[in-house]
Amino acid sequence: MTILLLLIPLALVLLVVAIWAFAWAVKQGQFEDLDTPALAILVDDDEAPPQAPRSDQDDA
């Protein structure tokens, strides 16, 4: 049963890490908008070359 003395502190450390990760995600606003990012993943970013819009806004 002495293995518990290692496993339980390990579980507690993992718990602290999980809570820290969750708190980080909340502060980063990961849960603010759950719909839009779901769409972004459906679209290939590669096929959006920046040349196209520059044609009418080319004085930067």
Partner: protein
């Protein structure tokens, strides 16, 4: 659905299925197409557009390779106003200084837009603005309608990216509710964090106490047992005191107010289970209940979060729109030139210019000429009001057809609009209170439990003093009213979710509880029971004119007009009848040439040189032939059906309108309404509802306009129609996302069902406790009985509540 639509579209426009989709409405905004619609090919298929604005937007989206927007979106975009808005004022230093924040490399500003309708809009805005030079960061949130934009002022003025935004059909407003929104986000993040910690902590605490439960024959050594107990204590402490803080704080508040409520019930049971466990841990007693305490906190927080999610999304939207009043006004300088200034800078005595279609910025008097104002939101009057120089105009009304100049008399809080807002707040404060069922039951339960516990302790103390404390603690924890406190939140959470899916957004708290008790419903007319646009009542012709031909000519003349009457003729449009030289004469009508004959359509005075009789006349140049169109307000398509369902639910129905006697009486007749009141000011309507309340009725009010806002706030429960005034929505408990009236009987049926389920849940919870109490009182509780009892009772009420989440179509019966 979109995939189906687009795959149909690629089959070509010859397909009859897609014909109405492709050929009669704008691809971008779904408004009816004019005769000479601009056409643009997207993804190899040519689409028609209602105006150059929409066409330009679609073309830009296509050329920027953002055409995915059209596949991703679940709602049509807003119409793009072709006339460029004056955006120069966004570059003014005084405005930026007041609202923008300095960030590394530039500045940041939060904008509000009214056109964001689905997640695809947010996606498009993100992509489109990021491609503008000088824009550092953009994040658009479709839920709250807000856009955060950071830009480098050295590389681009703010008006440049905003010009792009406007050209895509999203008009920017200043988000003045920044602090409130920030507070809301902070509050939500804290709630999420509490929930997350409760979930993670609860799982861990369960794991450690599980080990204790599984030790059924007591083979675990005492030090190991105590070690596990202390670990469980360590893990559950933050859950109880950080995650459970809302309940503890609520309990303290209730105790300060000398009442026992739902929070007291929750907090005492959590603290009891936790405190008793700590006591057992310290004294080496037989059981601990850490898992019960943390599980309970987690389940309640989850139920509360689900219930609030639907509500806060709805109210953030409503709040945002309520603040989206014109942030700028156009002032005329002494030398006659014009400048755009922030609304707050407008003072009494200034001369303000209002463009056609814009909202009036302040109360004042009309200076010169004639103008038409749409006051329906303020007064309920269904037609634009004609005003001459010297007449009073009010903030919040919209200027129609012709631009107007006005001398400002009152601004800000002195305007009629603000007075209505103040009336809303007063009415809300004086709303009849309905005692919350949860609080009442909780109070009885806590009182009864304390008495039973005292008796049990006394009896055991007399018989076996060494076990008295132990048994009493077990009794309190076992009957720990988990199930009882879960009974109501679980039902509300699943009912609110069902409501939102039905298209009824719950905004106010307690809306369902109030809705279930309703005995009478008061309706507004224009915009609520009636369509906002008028309908054709009858057509009579003269001079050998055919009815169909008259309608076709009228449709051709009105085709490109944005007048509300134009929509009335749109269904009769015929591509073979084309009008040329169409000119709109503001406030009077239109004239145009068809097949070489000049036609006039408008008031009798304009079309026929006859006395104005309220009808719409069409006449040819020589007045040899023509037609007379009687215009009246049509009830919404589902109004009669919804009213019948409400009657079947045993509700009394009333009509209160700001419109004139004749119009209201005619309208009420078609719907069979008998209790009818016309020419009601907002104050009258409120008084009318108060009278009904004094007669002992519980009144639901359904309205849409600003003039309904006070009465919406004062009624027992209020429902605002989705396309109405923002202030009305803010005052309401429920908002109909789409103007579908049959959702009202549906919502009432759901509310009644919720009340039934809540009662069943309470019966279950009390029943479980009645079974558990004698066992606990006799000191026969073992840890596994305790765990099983608490889990089963909580599960019963939760599953029972989940039955509400199933929405059946047409449950109104």
């Amino acid at each position: 659905m979109n995939a189906v639509a687009s795959s149909l579209r690629t089959q070509g426009s010859a397909s009859t299925d897609t014909a109405p989709l492709d050929t009669s409405t704008c691809f971008h905004c779904s408004e009816p197409l004019p005769a000479s619609a601009p056409r643009i090919a997207i993804d190899g298929v040519e689409h028609g557009f209602c105006c150059e604005g929409c066409a330009a937007a679609a073309q830009w989206i296509r050329d920027a390779r953002l055409g995915d927007y059209y596949r991703l979106r679940s709602a049509h975009g807003g119409r793009v106003e072709p006339a460029g808005e004056a955006l120069a004022c966004w570059d003014r230093e005084d405005i930026l200084a007041a609202h923008a924040r300095n960030v590394p490399g530039g500045r940041e500003l939060v904008l509000l837009t009214d056109g964001m309708r689905c997640a695809a809009c947010a996606w498009l805005i993100d992509r489109a603005l990021m491609r503008e030079p000088g824009v550092l960061e953009v994040s658009a949130n479709a839920v709250t309608g807000r856009i955060r934009i950071a830009w480098d002022p050295a590389r681009t003025p703010l008006s440049r990216p905003l010009q792009r935004l406007v050209s895509l059909g999203y008009r920017p407003w200043l988000a003045t509710g920044a602090e409130r929104e920030q507070a809301r986000v902070k509050e939500r993040n804290r709630a999420l964090l509490r929930l997350g910690i409760a979930g993670l902590g609860a799982v861990q605490a369960m794991m450690f106490t599980e080990a204790l439960y599984l030790d059924t024959n007591g083979s675990m050594s005492i030090p190991m047992r105590d070690f596990l107990r202390w670990i469980a204590f360590l893990v559950s402490s933050p859950v109880v005191f950080y995650s459970g803080w809302p309940f503890i704080a609520g309990c303290l508040r209730e105790l300060r107010e000398y009442r026992l409520g739902a929070d007291t019930l929750v907090a005492t049971s959590v603290l009891l289970a936790y405190g008793a466990s700590l006591f057992e841990t310290l004294t080496g007693g037989p059981h601990v209940w850490y898992d019960a305490a943390v599980m309970f906190v987690f389940l309640l927080l989850a139920a509360r979060m689900l219930e609030q999610r639907a509500r806060s999304a709805a109210s953030a939207r409503v709040d945002a729109l309520a603040r989206a009043r014109p942030a700028f006004a156009v002032r005329e300088r002494a030398d006659g030139s014009r400048e755009a200034i922030p609304l707050e800078a407008l003072e009494a005595g200034d001369i303000a210019c209002v463009a056609a279609g814009d909202a009036v910025p302040a109360d004042g008097t009309l200076l010169a000429g004639e103008a038409w104002f749409e006051e329906s939101l303020l007064t309920g009057e269904s037609r634009p009001v004609h005003k001459r120089a010297g007449d009073a105009v009010f903030a919040g009304t919209a200027c129609r057809e012709a631009p107007a100049r006005m001398r400002v008399a009152a601004t800000g809080v002195a305007t009629r609009l603000s007075q209505l807002a103040a009336l809303v707040e007063r009415a809300q404060a004086h709303r009849p209170t309905i005692a919350r069922m949860a609080d009442r039951v909780a109070m009885l339960f806590v009182a009864a439990l304390l008495i039973v516990a005292a008796i049990v302790y006394a009896v055991w103390h007399a018989q076996a003093p060494d076990r008295a404390l132990d048994v009493t603690l077990a009794l309190l924890v076992i009957s720990c009213p988990c199930a009882l406190s879960l009974a109501i939140p679980a039902a509300l959470a699943s009912a609110n979710g069902a409501l939102a899916r039905m298209g009824v957004l719950p905004v106010g708290p307690d809306a369902l509880d109030r809705l279930a008790r309703v005995t009478g419903v008061v309706f507004d007319k224009t915009g609520t029971l009636g369509e906002t646009t008028p309908a054709l009542a009858s057509v009579s012709t003269f001079g050998g004119m055919e009815r169909d031909m008259a309608l076709r000519i009228a449709a051709a003349l009105e085709r490109d007009s944005r007048h509300p009457l134009a929509a009335m003729f749109a269904p009769f449009a015929d591509a073979r009848v084309r009008a040329s030289d169409v000119r709109t004469v503001p406030g009077q009508g239109v004239r145009g040439t068809i097949d070489g004959i000049e036609w006039r359509l408008g008031q009798a005075r304009f079309a026929m040189d006859a006395e104005d009789d309220g009808a719409l006349w069409l006449a040819s140049a020589g007045e040899s032939e023509g037609a007379r169109f009687d215009v009246s307000e049509a009830p919404r398509a589902d109004a009669a059906e919804a009213l019948a369902l409400l009657r079947a639910q045993g509700l009394s129905l009333h009509l209160c309108s700001g419109d004139g006697e004749a119009a209201v009486a005619r309208f009420a007749d078609t719907l069979g309404l008998t209790d009818v009141h016309a020419r009601q000011t907002p104050e009258d309507k409120l008084a009318r509802v108060r009278t009904l309340q004094h007669e002992g009725r519980i009144v639901a009010m359904v309205g849409d306009g600003l003039n309904d806002a006070p009465v919406l706030a004062g009624a027992d429960v209020s429902i605002a129609v989705g396309d109405g005034a923002a202030l009305a929505q803010r005052a309401a408990d429920l908002v109909l996302a789409t103007p579908a009236l049959h959702r009202i009987p549906d919502a009432i049926a759901l509310a009644r069902r919720t009340r039934r389920i809540v009662r069943q849940n309470l019966a279950w919870a009390v029943g479980w406790n009645l079974v558990a109490l004698p066992i606990a009182a006799m000191g026969m509780v073992t840890p596994w009985i305790a765990a099983l009892g608490m889990a089963l009772s909580s599960l019963t009420v939760t599953l029972n509540a989940l039955r509400l989440a199933r929405v059946r179509e047409g449950v109104a019966a």
